[in-house]
Amino acid sequence: MAESDDNLIEVRNLRFQRGERWIFDGVDFNIARGKITAIMGPSGTGKTTLLRLIGGQLRAEAGSIHLDGNDIPRLNRNDLFAVRRKMGMLFQSGALFTDLTVYENVAFPLRVHTRLPEAMIRDVVLMKLHAVGLRGARDLMPSELSGGMARRAALARAIALDPQLIMYDEPFVGQDPISMGMLVQLIRLLNDALGLTSIIVSHDVHETASIADYIYVIADGKVIGQGTPEQVLNTDDARVRQFIRGLPDGPVPFHYPAIDYCKDLQLERE
């Protein structure tokens, strides 16, 4: 567990099932306030599902998710609406609304949760866009943006309401080096400048480890490793090492289960 007592989110004994499979089978997390926490693991282990559980989009079978005194799975619709104002989420594909301009996209959460006059909304939107470097692109449509720009615009939308928590779902996937570097820097900058708490879900070890304060590694529905980046990178656990080092063979085998090689090629006599 993270040492700090000041945790923004405390997840206890979380269990979530999809179909026959238990995605999470009793996991515990602490997300420290003001820090960047990374959740890493192989594809398909439910990292995105975790973000959705925290955001209240999915409901867990058992366990609790405490955010600032609210137990997310137990909230009713109105309370959930109020809590969502404190969260921002950056989706893997940006998820900008394609029928609105960049400006309107960033203004969207403001219009939903506040009754600010147009002039004030304009100020806030321009400030957020400036923070991500897109103030000049405010009148473009999402289809006119490059991938990196779209993600930055989505980031501006995610921080529009000055949330306490911001969640990044695979932010580094498919980015060219410049965009990648920009995003990495932005995430760290915003976290420190705005006093945010950030959760990054990623399987990109190098980038994530460079900015994270604490890392959880999950696989098969359980936490298999956690610690500061140095601790995790130098771990003895075989499964964590295979993942961190990117080793092709180890606890996750290279060969799909099959019969003996010689027998298959019929090199052995019966």
Binding site: F81, M87, T98, H113
Partner: protein, 263 residues
């Protein structure tokens, strides 16, 4: 013996699956339409959807209507003239259109054009996680995305049907009266005595409202329920057109039996 058991088992499983789909679709329809209307954003969203669903469909409706009216007049004439009953062309064309062809053909065209577009659009919004991010921001995508589209379909369909009927009758007039020289006076007089406002025109309007509601419901649900991949969206779009067409024809039979059935 085994294959028979398997067959029954699969039939049962499909039946239960279908019930589940129907239940999901009904829940979504209910949740989208229930509750207070959004007075701030609702009208703007509705007008926008009316544009994409109604105005964009105008061209295909008008062109199809024109040609169908002309063909009806032509075919009707060649048959009627053999019995010396060509003055009945007006009532033949108008009754066929207003009672049946107008609502049904316009609805089928609508399903193909607007229905598939709606499914693809919503499916794409689901795939690119726009619906999920909308929910995260705290806006119910059912109310913001689905509801305006459902209403737009219910309103646009009757409007399109009336326009279809009108254009088709003009086409029939052009062919029958102007080209085939059917007497204009008896053409219109017979038509007016045969077509009744309440029984024919209004029933046709009711049919088109029902079709609009059903087609839009299917289209919107298939998009919302689609697997978020490109194959998933393509399959959903196909399902929309197929299911809508079957539903239109089936419901048309029911409505016709109720409205125009033998008393």
């Amino acid at each position: 013996m085994n294959w028979m058991l398997n067959f029954v088992q699969r039939l049962g499983a499909t039946g239960i699956e279908t019930l589940g789909v129907f239940g999901r679709a009904s829940l979504i329809w209910w949740r989208a339409l229930w509750g207070m209307p959004d007075w701030r954003n609702g009208p703007t969203l509705l007008v926008r959807q009316l544009y994409f669903v109604g105005v964009y469909s105008l061209i295909i409706i008008v062109v199809s209507g024109l040609f169908i009216g002309m063909v009806l007049a032509l075919q009707g004439y060649t048959v009627l003239v053999r019995f010396g009953a060509d003055q009945a062309l007006g009532q033949l064309v108008s009754l066929a259109l207003i009672r049946e062809l107008g609502p049904v053909v316009a609805a089928l065209l609508f399903a193909g054009r607007a229905g598939s577009a709606l499914t693809a659009e919503i499916g794409l919004m689901k795939t690119t996680e726009q619906l999920a991010s909308m929910a995260m921001i705290g806006v119910d995508p059912l109310k913001r995305v689905l509801r305006p589209r459902l209403w737009a379909g219910m309103i646009a369909m009757p409007v399109l049907t009336q326009i279809f009927n009108m254009v088709a009758i003009w086409g029939a007039v052009a062919v029958g009266v102007d080209w085939l020289k059917v007497d204009a006076g008896s053409f219109w007089a017979n038509m007016q005595s045969a077509v009744q406002f309440r029984e024919d025109v209004l029933n046709g309007v009711i049919k088109s409202i029902v079709f609009g509601a059903v087609v839009t419901w299917i289209a919107v649900f298939q998009g919302y329920d689609a697997t978020p991949t490109s194959e998933g969206i393509s399959a959903a779009t196909t399902r929309t057109v197929v299911y809508s067409s079957l539903a239109i024809l089936g419901i048309d039979f029911l409505l016709t039996a109720v409205m125009f059935g033998v008393k």
